[in-house]
């Protein structure tokens, strides 16, 4: 089963909670499970638990769960200091997951996993502006298929999420987004599996409504990855990715300085174990946005991609992740941004009952190109106006105690902070919850 489907859905849940998940995910190898930085969604199941699930039929296992979070949001509209509007917050989540498995593991040659869920969020406030966004329904769904595993392998995964969050300013319309990510891949590992080739196609449809509609995109990426294992779990690799990103609303996109692009990324490096307890991803390479119109990436740093990530498992019940990444991404408010991201995560289980998750990241983001808001970057009229530069910090901690293997109670806290050379876009947002849930 593609592990990234679980990660993707976990991200969607996180996004439903805080509307911030990009980069909240450490870029980890597909098999390393889920590493989500910042707010942690309601737990899917107790870690290491294998005695739950309803055996619907022979070889089909169903997991279900429901959880409630009640808490407080210090800054509903991500406003600058002094303008914050706070509100109590309630969130309810339901999910179901079905896979061809038994409690002891997957069965069959073709593995499938279907998951669906919904998050209901309610701001319970007397403030009129907040009441405009009191209720939000955010469904998520995912499907994963995989087969093979020897010389040939095949995988397909699709995740969908609808996301809704209050806007930056108390306007009547929320930020609503529909995101669907699908990928299909084939793997070839001839001989003893020392050499592995992966060909993957990924499609992402990202649709905004209302104000951000101009930023709706269709992203297509073809990836070819070749690796050679010089040790059983350590490989050097070559990775090439060619993308094609176009905007779904041409006229609106052009009016906001948006342009299609053909991003290319060529990287090489090392993936895998450095020691029995430490794995790493070391990648260096060339990247270019190849925007069809307007400014594009350039310069040494702008054309460089670098990633350095370490995962350490000091004990069987703990994991530490730390990493750094330098890249560029398309930006909604500008053509693109150069990003330098550092992140860290610490996960600790105690006696299979208590789960602690502590994580954070810092992003230094330099926006480039054509800006939607002309006050945030240079314009023909004001060529010397500085470009917007953000320093974004995100942190989260959660502590869940499983009273039984099917019921839990916990606490969670998240913080989002944005500092910028443009004062009006700075904010500090904190959320804290108590939560209770069942999962079986």
């Amino acid at each position: 089963m593609p592990a990234y489907m679980n990660r993707r859905l976990a991200l969607c849940i996180a996004l439903a909670a805080t509307a911030i998940a990009r980069g909240a995910s450490a870029q980890v190898s597909a098999g390393q499970g889920e590493v989500t930085i910042g707010y942690q969604g309601l737990p899917y199941k107790s870690t290491g638990e294998s005695n739950t699930g309803v055996q619907v039929s022979e070889g089909v296992l169903l997991h279900v769960g429901a959880g409630v979070e009640a808490g407080y949001d210090s800054n509903v509209f991500y406003s600058e200091s002094g303008s914050e509007v706070a509100s109590p917050l309630l969130r309810i989540g339901l999910f179901g997951d079905m896979s061809n498995a038994t409690r002891t593991g997957a069965v069959g040659q073709l593995l499938f996993d279907v998951r669906a869920g919904v998050v209901y969020r309610r701001y319970q406030s007397d403030n009129v502006n907040v009441q405009n966004f009191s209720n939000a329904w955010m469904p998520t769904a995912g499907l994963g298929l995989s087969t093979g595993g020897g010389q040939f392998g095949f995988g397909f995964a699709d995740t969908f999420a609808r996301l809704e969050d209050p806007p930056y300013n108390p306007t009547p319309v929320p930020i609503t987004r529909y995101n669907n990510q699908a990928s299909v891949e084939g793997r070839w590992a001839p001989g003893g599996g020392r050499i592995t080739a992966t060909l993957r196609y990924t499609n992402v449809v990202d649709i905004f409504q209302d104000f951000y509609e101009y930023a709706s995109t269709d992203t297509n990426i073809v990836m070819l990855d070749g690796s050679w294992k010089w040790l059983p779990k350590t490989a050097i690799f070559l990775n090439a990715q060619q993308g094609y990103i176009f905007y779904l609303n041409d006229a609106q996109a052009m009016a906001n300085g948006k342009s299609s692009s053909y991003p290319l990324q060529l990287t090489t490096g090392l993936r895998g174990l450095l020691t029995e307890k430490t794995s790493a991803i070391l990648a260096l390479g060339y990247t270019n946005g190849f925007y069809a119109n307007g400014p594009t990436t350039g310069g040494f740093l702008g054309s460089s991609y670098a990633e350095l990530a370490f995962t350490l498992r000091p004990t069987m019940l703990s994991r530490i992740v730390a990493g750094y990444r330098h890249d560029f991404t398309n930006a909604v408010i500008a053509s693109f941004s150069y990003n330098d991201t550092g992140y860290a995560s610490y996960v600790q289980q105690i006696a299979g009952r208590l789960a602690l998750d502590l994580s954070g990241r810092y992003v230094h983001r330099r926006y480039q190109g054509d800006f939607v808001d002309s006050s945030q970057g240079p314009t023909p009229a004001m060529p010397n106006q500085p470009q917007r530069v953000d320093d974004f910090i995100q942190g989260g901690v959660s502590l869940d105690y499983f009273v039984r293997n099917w019921i839990y109670a916990g606490l969670a806290y998240s913080v989002l902070s944005n500092s910028s050379n443009i004062a009006s876009v700075e904010y500090l947002k904190q959320q804290m919850f108590v939560r209770l849930g069942i999962t079986y």
Partner: protein, 195 residues
């Protein structure tokens, strides 16, 4: 007086002679017709009437027979190697070694036999021929034993079971796989005071 002495001497000799008991029967020559009932025949069949030339011809037949046996056992040895039947291979190899030793002894005896024929030494000739006959019989027995060497098919105790212990610290997933696909989602930055 003289008569008395003769009588006493005669009586003494006579008593001594009769005190010895009956005389033993003469040793019979080896029976050509078979052993007496109840006794095993451990003698080697010989043809004492063979001429020198016949002995040499016979010894050559023995040599050929022993070499044929050696070749046959070597074939069995190769077969066991091909089948990777280590148990049978050990058994057959042991027979090969013994046969080679006996053939070496036989070659020495043949040389000694020819010398004895040249010297017209009948005793030596018969001795070497007897030795050759015994060695030949021993090689034939080894050949039969080699044919009966038992391999794994009869001593097979089941498939080989290999227990592997993997350090639990080593992750079960494959960390060499490429990163997960997809584009991470983020809340768009604030574009303007109105958005």
């Amino acid at each position: 007086m003289v008569n008395a002495k003769v009588l006493l001497t005669t009586m003494f000799v006579a008593s001594t002679v009769f005190a010895q008991g009956p005389a033993p029967a003469p040793i019979a020559p080896p029976s050509a017709g078979g052993a007496a009932p109840g006794a095993a025949d451990v003698s080697v069949k010989q043809r004492p009437t063979l001429t020198s030339e016949e002995m040499i011809n016979q010894s050559r037949d023995y040599a050929k027979s022993m070499n044929d046996t050696l070749k046959r056992i070597q074939t069995l040895q190769d077969q066991a190697k091909r089948e990777k039947d280590i148990i049978r291979l050990n058994c057959v190899t042991d027979k090969v070694v013994q046969v080679r030793v006996n053939i070496s002894i036989a070659e020495q005896s043949m040389a000694a036999l020819q010398e004895a024929v040249t010297r017209n030494d009948e005793g030596e000739r018969t001795h070497e021929f007897t030795r050759l006959t015994i060695v030949n019989q021993k090689v034939l027995v080894l050949g039969a034993e080699a044919e009966n060497c038992i391999g794994e098919d009869l001593s097979f105790v089941g498939a080989t079971k290999v227990d592997i212990e993997i350090d639990p610290n080593i992750p079960t997933y494959d960390p060499t796989q490429p990163p997960a696909p997809g584009v991470d989602i983020e809340r768009p930055g604030e574009a303007s005071r109105m958005l």
